[in-house]
């Protein structure tokens, strides 16, 4: 599980560890907390987002954090939650999203499906009520996928509380801004996701400390020599690994042109591609971008697959497992993978005529 970072850093790259105090865009330097200064010609910000339970009153400070309230996007949180699930002997499990955007928007759905399967496996599903509370108007952000995923929740007898924007946590009750209340015995929440605090200190961020960028080139709107990659930017796409991966493929070619003083010709299209584990050895796959929502069909080879889009199959689940190897051996070292960076309409089923 743990691998040294140095192994993935190519020769010729000087890897500096340190906490960033702030960036001074006018002086083109990064100030580290220990007083070191790093001068740059061009700066690429890739410090991601982090879950911030402190941003919801009563979540971190209400006495229930890691008692009956858990998150799973941190290592500590996931380990603590695993133990809580083992010890859980029935009651109301609430899966909850504070606000968008979140890292991997399908992960809370995936957790819900897997929790359902887990409690069935333990023969105690009838003693667990599962509620899915979301600030969105449905199970997912996009209509067709929302319908498919919503009916999967229905089939599993999971109730969905939509348009639920949490204001505070009162002990073991979620309270929304419009004064709805949801009690829980076990809460699995996705706290607010924010960019790093130094982004705010540097005057580079928006209200969530995300760096506003051009959504096709990832160049900062405020500074002509700063880019933001991955979750750190404000592009209107999923904060998902696939988005970071596909966007970086476009970015690297663009950056070479940019460094030569040439116009950047590559345009990132917001491509995202996510497996959704649905329990019992099956999974779904979704593939979409800025303009096209997830649609049913086959992927990556049109008509053949082997993967099915927006449909539960065992092969999708095996694809997810195979992806572990791909991640460490191809994606992370930057080796080419046989999937194009831009989304393709080939193989997707749509009622409307769509441009390729």
């Amino acid at each position: 599980m743990v691998k040294p970072r140095e192994r993935f850093i190519p020769d010729g790259v000087n890897l500096v560890y340190g906490e960033v105090d702030r960036v001074e865009p006018d002086g083109n330097e990064v100030l580290l907390a220990d007083g070191r200064r790093l001068l740059y010609d061009d700066l690429v910000i890739a410090t991601g987002v982090e879950p911030r339970p402190d941003q919801t009153p009563g979540m971190l400070d209400g006495g229930q954090w890691r008692e009956s309230i858990f998150d799973f996007y941190t290592y500590d949180g996931a380990v603590a939650l695993a133990k809580a699930l083992l010890d859980f002997d029935g009651g109301r499990l609430v899966v909850h999203i504070v606000d968008m955007p979140i890292k991997c928007p399908v992960a809370p759905l995936e957790f819900t499906f897997l929790a359902d399967a887990y409690f069935r496996g333990r023969g105690m599903r009838d003693r667990v009520e599962i509620v899915y509370a979301t600030p969105l108007p449905g199970a997912f952000t996009k209509p067709i996928a929302s319908k498919h995923l919503g009916s999967m929740l229905d089939e599993r007898k999971i109730s969905v509380e939509t348009d639920f924007l949490v204001e505070r946590v009162d002990g073991t009750t979620l309270v929304s801004y419009d004064e709805r209340e949801i009690n829980f015995d076990l809460l699995v929440t996705v706290p607010l996701n924010m960019g790093a605090d130094y982004i705010a200190r540097s005057g580079l961020g928006n209200e969530l400390n995300l760096v506003p960028v051009d959504k096709h080139t990832l160049l900062s709107k405020a500074c002509p020599n700063i880019f933001a990659l991955g979750d750190a930017s404000d592009i209107p796409a999923s904060k998902a690994g696939s988005v970071a991966h596909f966007s970086v493929e476009v970015f690297t070619d663009n950056f070479v042109r940019y460094a030569r003083g040439e116009p950047m010709t590559g345009r990132f299209d917001g491509h995202a591609n996510c497996f959704v584990e649905s329990g019992a050895g099956k999974g779904l796959l979704i593939d979409f971008n800025y303009d096209t929502e997830p649609l049913p069909g086959r992927y990556p080879i049109p008509g053949i697959g082997p993967f099915s889009l927006l449909k539960e199959t065992a092969i999708n689940h095996w694809g997810k497992l195979a992806f572990r190897w791909m991640y460490w051996n191809l994606l992370l070292p930057g080796r080419p993978i046989p999937l194009p960076a831009h989304m393709s309409m080939a193989g997707k089923h749509t009622d409307k005529p769509t441009e390729e």
Binding site: P101, P105, P137, T141, D163, D178, N206, E207, A272
Partner: protein
């Protein structure tokens, strides 16, 4: 792209009735749009609507509730009182801006 007639003018809207042309909007139209969804515009409503209008050209996206609260200085609780149930959607509708995509 559908065209509808409001207050004797042709207005471009999307499938859900959200205006698609920024400059086709004015105060008079806002009142009509508000009335259609049962909102009676007070000064407090206008403060939120004006923030959305002023924020949009530089951002290229309709402000989220969090942005209206953090940058616009209007508490989220108040937005739920002013525009009950679905404040983000209702504000965007009245302000003649695209429906905020709850991100993706």
């Amino acid at each position: 792209m559908p065209v509808t007639t409001i207050a004797g003018r042709d207005i471009h809207v999307d499938d859900e009735g959200f205006l698609t042309v920024y400059d086709e909007w004015d105060d008079d139209l806002a009142k009509r749009l508000a009335a259609q969804i049962g909102v009676d515009l007070t000064e407090a409503h206008w403060k939120a609507i004006r923030f959305l209008r002023e924020d949009y050209p530089s951002q290229g996206e309709t402000a989220t509730l969090r942005r209206v609260s953090v940058i616009g200085g209007i508490p989220t609780k108040d937005l739920f009182t002013l525009f009950p149930k679905k404040p983000a959607k209702k504000m965007a509708y009245i302000a003649g801006l695209p429906k905020p995509h709850g991100c993706v």
